[in-house]
């Protein structure tokens, strides 16, 4: 095991995969000369040259579409979106081409690429730069959607994404780039669709992913002081979605709280809650609680922003409601 940051985990995975496989190449805005907005790709241009670390114009539809075309011809591009907010101009390429080309060509054309970058709410970035895309992309069959919460998972999931046969939406979180964690040595992958039980408990199941996992864990720690033991689950991937692990836990605890940073209406938590009802209705002792962002565009003012996104307190209140 080696301790490293989430950022270092991603960078070292890119290096290892590029060393291993010459078909892996990187594209994105300011990933080369500038070194990457979040410094993920720092130093890679000098190591691999401009044909493998491709600085692109501000032209997401163009370069993400081109990366899909590269994947169709057998390359394994890893695209950095500066933030997932900027993926929207390229949504036609991602949703209409990458997600579906395998299907509508009867399996003849494949597009195994990874699109990665920071997702989620920021520090007073306001409406256009502070939102989450897991439900948006998770809605489309043909895409895989992953959202690692720890350095170890960032590494294992990114390796699996690069080596896989499908287009992967790889949602990082800007607020997690600096966190540290133990990362296994050697060549390991974390498979998609395998949730992790990060903390065991018997009173309530708290389901989360990405940055919200860390809030759920600290809420669980505080609740433990009051004698309430939360089982905390990290979904790791939203599509495929490991409801087996969630359902098995709810059958033990009989209560569930689902935590997401994004908007409530039509969000991932709505899907997960519905599936808990479908699978565990007779096991439940209380209605499933959802802790979500408020249904408003992200505000700029700090006090309003704090109200707009879930915090530890909201998770604690939700747990108390289902326990009561």
């Amino acid at each position: 095991m080696t301790e490293m940051t989430y950022r270092e985990a991603i960078r070292s995975t890119l290096v290892e995969e590029m060393d291993r496989d010459p078909t892996v190449l990187l594209l994105g805005e300011d990933i080369g000369v500038y070194g990457g907005t979040f410094r993920i790709t720092e130093g890679l241009l000098s190591r691999y040259g401009p044909r493998r670390v491709v600085d692109t114009p501000i032209s997401e539809l163009g370069f993400i579409g081109a990366a899909i075309g590269m994947a169709m011809l057998g390359l394994r591009p890893v695209v950095e979106v500066m933030t997932w907010n900027f993926s929207l101009p390229a949504a036609d390429q991602i949703l209409q081409n990458a997600a579906k080309v395998r299907y509508f060509t009867g399996g003849q054309v494949r597009a195994p690429l990874v699109i990665r970058g920071p997702n989620g709410a920021g520090v007073q970035l306001s409406a256009q730069h502070s939102q989450s895309f897991e439900s948006f992309y998770g809605h489309f069959p043909g895409l895989k959607v992953v959202a690692p919460a720890t350095p170890a998972d960032a590494k294992g999931l990114l390796r699996a994404a690069i080596r896989g046969e499908d287009p992967v939406i790889f949602l990082e979180h800007a607020a997690l780039y600096g966190i540290k964690g133990e990362v296994p040595d050697g060549d390991y992958t974390v498979p998609f669709g395998k949730a992790a039980v990060v903390r065991s408990g018997h009173h309530v199941t708290v389901v989360s992913y990405s940055r919200m996992l860390h809030l759920a864990l600290s809420a669980a720690h505080r609740l433990s002081g009051e004698g309430i033991e939360c089982e905390v689950i990290d979904l790791r991937s939203l599509r495929p979605l490991d409801m087996e692990t969630v359902a098995a836990s709810v059958r033990r605890t009989h209560r569930a709280v689902v935590v997401q940073e994004q908007w409530r209406l039509y969000g991932a938590a709505a899907e997960i809650s519905a599936q808990i009802y479908e699978r565990c209705f007779d096991d439940l002792d209380a209605p499933v609680e959802r802790v979500t962002g408020e249904d408003v565009p992200a505000p700029y003012a700090r006090n309003l922003e704090l109200l707009a996104f879930p915090g530890e307190e909201k998770i604690i209140e939700a747990v108390r409601r289902v326990i009561a």
Partner: protein, 332 residues
């Protein structure tokens, strides 16, 4: 044009004639099948435009690749995809090129370098640019053709793809030929009503991409340009744009019956320059085609089309388990 004719062997011209007649007969049949309810969805035929794909696809090598829009039947047939598998795809049968999952707008034949027809206007242009980059990245001298209509040049995808191609071309990393099949109308909106600059080839000037227009009704003219352009792109790794000025005789799609946006006189005027008719005249002048030979070729094409229909009719529907295949690949 006489000089060009002399350079092209008469056998090659006869071969174009055969292929164009096959494509025409095939598509006329698809219109009938659509009206009979045998073909569903949308059906966009290429009738009138055959010279463009014929000339370009004959100018590339077997190992070159190409992308097309949703008006893609001719491209598959001209590249040698089995007409039976194309018809079966249109009929939604398991024996179709995409197992009945793509239909008219998504023909494909990767073994012959056809990476697919795409249903969103302009959406496949960036794919072709990336594919061209990949061909060079892999150290080959293969090239990529990208066919699209006049409507696509007004989409953002065109401009982003052209800019990337121009940039990557400077490094010799983008051997793509953009082929605008300018059939004068984006659905019911004429080029003049849709494009601030109706000379569409000039759009490439903004991206340092050499370009020219050609007569898209004359397969000899198309072939002459295509052959020269393809070899230049292969040699330099730089993109090139060609606007083939052509015309579609049928509606935008099979549901576009009334065509209120254009006059009968206009259609008739263009019909005088029907690409098959033009080629036939040339072949007759050269003594390479007489009534008997013409009848023989048409009978051959009709036979293949009949065979394709029979095959499609007799083919099984895709089995229900196909619903869930080809969504994802194997797990890593």
């Amino acid at each position: 044009m006489e000089r060009v004719e002399e350079r092209v062997a008469v056998e090659r011209m006869l071969d174009w004639y055969r292929r164009m007649v096959l494509v025409r007969r095939f598509e006329e049949q698809t219109e009938r099948s659509f009206r009979r309810g045998k073909i569903g969805g949308y059906l966009h035929v290429y009738i009138g435009q055959e010279a463009v794909a014929t000339g370009f696809l004959d100018a590339i090598r077997e190992d070159d690749i190409f992308f097309a829009s949703y008006r893609d039947h001719a491209h598959a047939l001209l590249r040698g995809t089995d007409p039976r598998a194309v018809m079966a795809e249109l009929y939604g049968k398991a024996t179709g090129v995409a197992k009945g999952k793509g239909g008219s707008m998504h023909l494909v034949d990767v073994a012959r370098g056809f990476y697919g027809g795409y249903g969103i206007v302009g959406g496949h242009l960036p794919l072709a640019v990336g594919a061209a980059y990949a061909l060079r990245y892999q150290g080959t001298d293969r090239i990529c053709l990208c066919f699209f209509g006049d409507g696509a040049v007004n989409s953002g995808a065109f401009h982003e793809a052209a800019n990337l191609a121009g940039l990557w071309g400077k490094e010799g990393m983008c051997p793509v030929v953009f082929v605008i099949e300018n059939n004068q109308y984006g659905m019911g909106t004429s080029v003049e009503r849709a494009s601030a600059v109706p000379n569409l080839a000039r759009r490439f000037d903004a991206y340092a991409i050499p370009n020219e227009r050609c007569d898209g009704m004359d397969v000899l003219a198309v072939y002459e340009v295509a052959r020269r352009v393809v070899e230049e792109v292969r040699r330099t790794g730089r993109p090139y744009g060609v606007e083939a000025v052509t015309y579609r005789f049928s509606g935008h799609g099979a549901a576009d019956l009334f065509q209120s946006y254009r006059t009968k006189e206009e259609v008739e005027r263009w019909r005088q320059r029907d690409p098959i008719l033009l080629l036939e005249r040339r072949l007759r002048e050269r003594g390479a085609l007489d009534d008997a030979r013409k009848a023989e070729i048409h009978a051959w094409a009709e036979g293949l089309v009949e065979e394709a229909v029979a095959f499609a009719e007799q083919s099984p529907d895709p089995p229900p388990e196909e619903l869930y295949t080809d969504v994802y690949g194997a797990d890593p």
